[in-house]
Amino acid sequence: MTSITLRKLCKTYEGSKHPAVENFDLEIEPGELVAFLGPSGCGKTTTLKMIAGLHSVTRGDVLFNGVRVNDIKPERREVVMVYQNYLLFPYMNVAENVGFGLRMRKTPKDETDRRVAEILKLVQLEGYGHRSSAQLSGGQKQRVALARALVIRPKILLLDEPLANLDAHLRDEMRDLILDIHKKFEVTTVFVTHDQEEAVLLADRIALIFDGKLVQYSHSKDFYEKPASERISRFFGNGNIIEGTKAGTTVTTGSGAFQVRPGLPAADGPVQLVIRPESIRLSREESNSFKALILKKIYMGTYTRYCFEADGHIWDTTTESNEIPGYEAGDSAWFTLPQDKIWLIER
């Protein structure tokens, strides 16, 4: 298994003033499954291509197992990239596509045939070898592309937006397949996505990238519960961010004073109070609660979403539909911010 280390990695494209990737420091453990997450154009694919050797490095180093690989050509890196649009070679059939990497390695024909058949079975495409790529569905193309990458037993597997082009039901299937493959082949895997849900579904750890800079690298849970900044919090779908002042375990905001758990890293002084919509409870009057006017009620099936206003802020909460006490828009209700669910961002 192979570890990946990025050390002060920079990339500036020719003719561009702004670096696409700036001072990346990142350590990916052997066999880990890591997501590069960020809005489009943030530099995540550029970083992926630098790991693959397809883009040159402007400054800094890429290391595999501690060995610098900057100058190793892509075809010698044993790193395979699977593109978002699959890129199956159009004039080759499925088996020829999958066997491409083996042929480039001058593997004997009978061994190539055997390994191609094996891997096609693994991706549930047994007997599809003679089909042309035009005859395949999107999900099938994706699986051929994966098989083509895996058949050469790469040290590192790179996936570009692996679930982006798939329908909802295929996404789950593909996610399971990728997780299975990752487990079975023990291959260090990095994938790129702009969809936080996709990142959370697949990755052990997420590297969040904004504007070419790595802003947070941690387990997916931390992004929900311990976002490092307001922007990260919003990127993960949480807009409940309220200005306040921290003193000890009390945060005073325009909507009242809230008790927070001790030991939060934010220092006393101006802070932003962050709480996820699903953590806010509709309740009676109790500690850490305040009364507010419900502006909107949106029934979403399993969940119901309320938007309410307090002290000029629009808050958001989602509650399981079968638990709601029957409030409607226009009602006033008590909302509780559970002490252990509040996170603070230092300002």
Partner: protein, 273 residues
């Protein structure tokens, strides 16, 4: 894209046959004339047959073989140079954005819009000074004026559809740059090269005006002979020459027709896959 297979109805057959007869029909006398000595109205076939037209063509004094050879050399050189210049130019126009691209496109297209005669006079003066007029090289160079636009436009269309990620994909699967070019890039752009090269060859092969002006009558090509025979009103020679003149077009069409059909040109650049 699937094109539905439908059985041709009788009406279709009538149209097919009509087209074939009207296109190929006039060519039939063309193929009989070279073997005729006397063929007068209302005879359906010549009254006296002869191969004198072919004897004359084979005779070195007639300059026909020399002209065929010159035409061939010029057309092949023109085609090769057009490919060498047109492929990179087409790539730049099809794949890159750069300042002044519209202007470059206009300049490349200009020779196919502006009549050759208008510029050739000026070029002639320059070529005389450079010692290029009345030479084969000069003729090759001047033929490039109309051929390069075709080549470039043909290639820019291919490259506009071309996804360079295919090359990266091949590299990351273990193909060297050399193999990537021959296995991935070349097959993708080949239909465009064939189409463009075919146009280049035929434009050069059929070129009269530019050859006369720059070659000054010293560089004898087939169209030049054709024109002088046309004036002589000898149908047998005229027809024999026409057949030779037509030959490359038929051969090229035969070998490249599959690249011109809709199915394969959509493969060009892997665009629709």
């Amino acid at each position: 894209m699937d094109i539905e297979d439908t059985k041709a109805s009788p009406l279709h057959w009538i149209v097919y046959i009509g087209v074939i007869v009207s296109v190929l029909g006039p060519l039939i006398p063309q193929f009989i004339w070279p073997f005729a000595k006397s063929w007068f109205f209302p005879d359906l076939l010549p009254s006296v047959w002869s191969v004198r037209a072919w004897e004359y063509i084979a005779n070195p004094n007639s300059q026909v073989l020399e002209a065929v050879w010159n035409s061939l050399v010029i057309a092949v050189l023109v085609t090769c140079i057009s490919v060498l210049l047109g492929v990179p130019a087409g790539k730049a126009l099809g794949m890159y954005r750069f300042r002044g691209k519209g202007l470059v496109e206009l300049f490349i297209l200009a020779p196919s819009i502006i009549p050759g005669l208008a510029v050739t006079m000026g070029i002639h003066v320059v070529f005389i000074r450079l010692g290029l007029s009345d030479t084969l090289l000069g003729v090759v160079l001047v033929h490039l004026i109309p051929t390069i636009p075709y080549m470039t436009i043909s290639m820019s269309g291919i490259f506009a559809n071309y996804d360079p990620d295919f090359e990266e994909q091949a590299r990351s699967l273990g193909a060297s740059t050399f193999k990537t070019f021959f296995i991935i890039t070349l097959p993708a752009i080949f239909p465009g090269i064939v189409t463009g090269a075919m146009f280049a060859f035929l434009i050069s092969w059929g070129q009269y005006l530019l050859t006369v002006l720059i070659g000054g009558g010293r560089v004898i090509t087939l169209p030049l002979l054709l024109f002088s025979f046309a004036a002589s009103r000898d149908n047998a020679f005229m027809s024999a020459l026409s057949i030779i003149f037509l030959l490359p077009a038929i051969i090229i069409l035969f070998f490249t027709s599959k690249f011109l059909s809709g199915k394969s040109s959509s493969m060009g650049g892997f665009g629709t896959i």
